[in-house]
Subunit: 291 residues, 2 copies
């Protein structure tokens, strides 16, 4: 039986949004008993209607029997947890999170709990809230953990087994390397995509803007997709990973300036050579997810 | 009958790649007689096998009976047409093109032919060559024409009717406005997308790069799609629309700097407000093509 194999009484999930709700659905399907903690009673009722956990409450005490607890909170709340939540976490339980930035999370949580393991299951989509969770969200998606010298190896192994059970692709990395990698492949793209929309928003020639709106097609749609996404999530990325993002932006500005200089100098062969390189490079990033 | 309605003997298409081949398929389906001119005899045979026109040849003289001729050549060739092609165009025929940049095309062609009309059917996709043409490529896609004071109104109307017949959405604009609009919604996106790939290509920390490749997902795939596209096409855009692209880049750099300054100053509310604006703005560009 699944429960015996992991020696788990119940798994606690704090927050039943896209990630927490999806975890609740999958973990129940794998035979685990799941206790879900939410902030509002209206959310609790909606989560019960969707069957996101067997037990759902706004009372942190429902976590007291859990030996594995997943903090599936928005980053801002994860970094400033309430006293009630901290007090309700059993000392022997393994605690993990799902935050998209890891160094600031470790800085807070390594002091708060002895068996904390930093996690980032990379399975977001554009949806949010108690209606967003869905089955098999984590299947064949990366699940990064960021252990450090003080991380309890048994706790790490418990989170590892959880990720494998959900079908995720387990990877470990230093928190700083993780944060720089997500800055490059996730947070920087949001910024450069948003800046493209902002450029159109700044355009003051009305006939040009009207024509641009008529002519924009799939290329524009693709390039602006994540820059036109959830503003709250975007702000949370920027504010919690700003050092890595500024580093990525500096490198990006340099890349863009090289294109600009080549255009100014009419070095078309260089432009073509650069575009051949980007054409070759892109598939290396897409083996798993997209073509 | 379709032919009588347009008073058209035959329609000539110069080049049977994605655009020319698709035009050939649709125009035949609408009852027109189509003569296709190609450069190589091997291409001619492939085009015959695919039925892209009723008459296909490498001899420009096949255009001599046509009263409407569409130049579906790559931009570089369109801007430097051969003497043989110029000599074969009947003086009374209406000539139009499909080039993605219009001011340089008008500069060349207004001198070469009295009944030239600048056109840009915006129906490209990632495919190219004699195998790429497909039916109904132009249906519900924009077809921009860029008439100027010297443009023959009857010739313009003939091209207008052609675009309507193919199901396109007809728009007219000044050539300079057109070129600035495509710089903003098509050429600038290629550059900023390519610069993102180049930033990753410049990364020298191997563990960071390996992790970035593992973690890159749909957001990265979307944002880099057109920057990882056809290098020859990308170079042609840059070299033939460089003034408008440099103008767009200047505006873009300013937008990106404003984000960078807000991050440096930790103005998170401003970031959120900007991202709310981009979130609202994006759908205005996508009503036709994508969600």
């Amino acid at each position: 039986m699944a429960q015996k194999e992991c020696s788990t009484n119940c798994i606690g999930i704090v927050g039943l949004g896209l990630i927490g709700g999806s975890l609740g659905l999958d973990l129940q399907a794998h035979g685990f008993k799941v206790h879900g903690l939410v902030h509002r009673s209206t959310t609790a009722q909606k989560a019960r209607d969707r069957g996101l956990s067997q037990v759902i409450s706004t009372d942190p005490q429902i976590l007291s029997d859990c030996d594995l607890i997943i903090l599936a909170l928005p980053l801002d709340q994860l970094l400033k947890p309430s006293e009630a939540l901290i007090g309700a976490l059993p000392k022997k339980a393994v605690i993990t999170d799902v935050g998209s930035v890891k160094a600031p999370v470790l800085k807070v949580w390594r002091e708060l709990h002895q068996h904390f393991v930093g996690s980032h299951p990379m399975a977001g989509n554009a949806n949010a809230g108690v209606e967003a969770g869905r089955k098999e969200l984590f299947k064949q998606r990366p699940w990064v953990s960021t252990p450090e010298s003080g991380t309890d190896p048994e706790a790490l192994e418990k989170v590892h087994q959880l990720a494998l059970r959900l079908g995720s692709q387990w990877t470990t990395a230093e928190a700083e390397i993780h944060d720089q990698a997500v800055a490059l492949i996730s947070h920087l793209p949001v910024l450069i995509s948003a800046a493209l929309l902002k450029t159109l928003g700044n355009e003051r020639n009305p006939s040009l803007l009207t024509l641009a709106k008529k002519l924009a097609s799939s290329g524009f749609a693709d390039t602006t997709r994540i820059g036109g996404g959830n503003p709250i999530l975007g702000k949370a990325m920027m504010s919690n990973n700003s050092a890595a993002i500024l580093r990525a932006l500096t490198s990006y500005r340099w890349s863009l300036e090289q294109f600009e200089e080549a255009i100014l100098a009419q070095h078309w062969k260089q432009i073509e050579a650069e575009l051949k390189e980007t054409h070759t490079l892109r598939p290396e990033f897409l083996k798993k997810s997209d073509s």
